[in-house]
Symmetry: C2
Subunit: 259 residues, 2 copies
């Protein structure tokens, strides 16, 4: 029985939730209710024997993933909130672990210069699918260019159980990515929605209106918002009926399980 599981380990933006020193109602709530806290965007994909870490924004990744527990790491991009969990982890003593991501000669800090046990040479090409597992349980991952201030890939993750598209960080979608995704029946779309509709002209991330437009365009079975700011969480507290059918807000530990 094929299975495709994606667990959201972090659904916050760069500052996480609560934001240091912030007294907005969402930050105050998340200090009282720890299940409302958000770590930086990170996810785990599991399909049969294959386990892929999708981004590395959490600080405690070494404790979560002992040597041998991951098949590879996929990076959306090299902004620090998506790779900060690699800085200390890289000095571990373990077999080489492949890190797949977009070509970005800058990388982040000295990660590419001093990779430790990570192998950052696995750069991907847009729309060139890579696979893990054997024919009976093959997992396909396709990098999809997104629109951001650094080279970024979203990923379409597919096996016989279904299709998940993970699209962060982005503002809108490049036309080629949009057209590629429209050929797919998407079960779950995990989508960057950093800002509320009150942020009219965001620069690098979707606001809710933009996220809803992408949802309506791609028509997945359901859309789960991620990379959430405290500003959006405040707006959601004030607008409990604010999300259309089929769209929900992600939270850390949320599991999507396709069978």
């Amino acid at each position: 029985m094929p299975e495709l599981k994606l667990t959201l380990l972090g659904t916050g933006c760069a500052g996480g939730m609560p934001v240091y020193g912030c007294h907005c109602q969402a930050c105050v709530r998340s200090r009282q209710q720890t299940d409302k806290q958000r770590k930086q965007c990170t996810a785990l994909i599991e399909a049969g024997e294959t386990r892929l870490l999708l981004d590395a924004g959490l600080h405690d990744l070494p404790a979560r993933f002992p040597p041998g527990s991951l098949s590879a790491i996929l990076l959306t991009h090299y902004h620090v909130d998506h790779v900060q969990g690699l800085f200390h982890w890289r000095w571990g003593r373990a077999d080489k672990l492949a890190v797949y991501g977009p070509k970005d000669s800058e990388g982040c800090a000295d990660l590419l210069k001093h990779p430790g046990f990570f192998d950052f040479n696995q750069t991907l090409s847009p729309f060139q699918t890579i696979t893990w597992g054997d024919d009976s349980n093959k997992l396909s991952v396709t990098p999809l260019p997104l629109t951001h201030s650094k080279p970024v890939f979203g990923y379409c993750i597919e096996n016989r159980a279904g299709t998940i598209a993970y699209l962060t960080d982005t503002i809108g979608l490049p036309e080629e990515t949009r057209r590629w995704l429209k050929t797919k029946k998407i079960d779950s779309l995990i989508l960057d929605c950093t800002h509320s509709p009150a942020i009219k002209h965001p620069r690098n991330h979707n606001n809710l209106d933009m996220a809803i437009a992408i949802h309506n365009d791609l028509q997945p079975d359901n859309t789960i918002l991620t990379h959430i700011s405290d500003e959006l969480d405040c707006w959601l507290m004030d607008n409990e009926q604010g999300l259309p059918n089929g769209i929900s807000v992600g939270f850390d530990t949320l599991k999507i399980n396709l069978k």
Copy 2:
């Protein structure tokens, strides 16, 4: 009554202790005895109302230091293991906090480009003392160039209670720094000693022989070793009598209290 307090919050090298995946006797011990674990090099200086954070290698600094609890941050340099605690913290909502350090146009990742509430413009000049507090309780801090693969300052920290020199990261000492320090009566010297004597030709950090030579040259009342690797901790487990009088190994939470 003047007082000068320095607390070692982290005494490890870049990978911390235990090292991920490592089965050496020191790493195994530190998994069983958490007081043997080492976080990345960081210290807190306290003198009267003045509280200075010295480097920022810990991930949980936002929880340890609420807004208003620090007078400033001093950085030795911009290697990632000394600044990684700033990446997420910077997005907080708080009054500007001055970060003093050496001039380094690269900084680390995008810290200088996106400083958040930190003010990285407080670059220091070698041997130019800065002070905090009023005349009755003045704390003086003097940046001292060290020898490393990036611009690095050690710091001489003085008030009427005494003198602490904090010298990491370095291999040996530049002659000018050595001469400046030899004019001082140093109570406590906190000194980079990453490697055991078995590492004969280290590149960026002292081995124990080099640290002992600096101790003998500067003749502080006592020397406390920091930036410790698991390789040195293993050597120390095998050589219990291995340290000369006046030299001891630092540990996370160690307090130096001069009165």
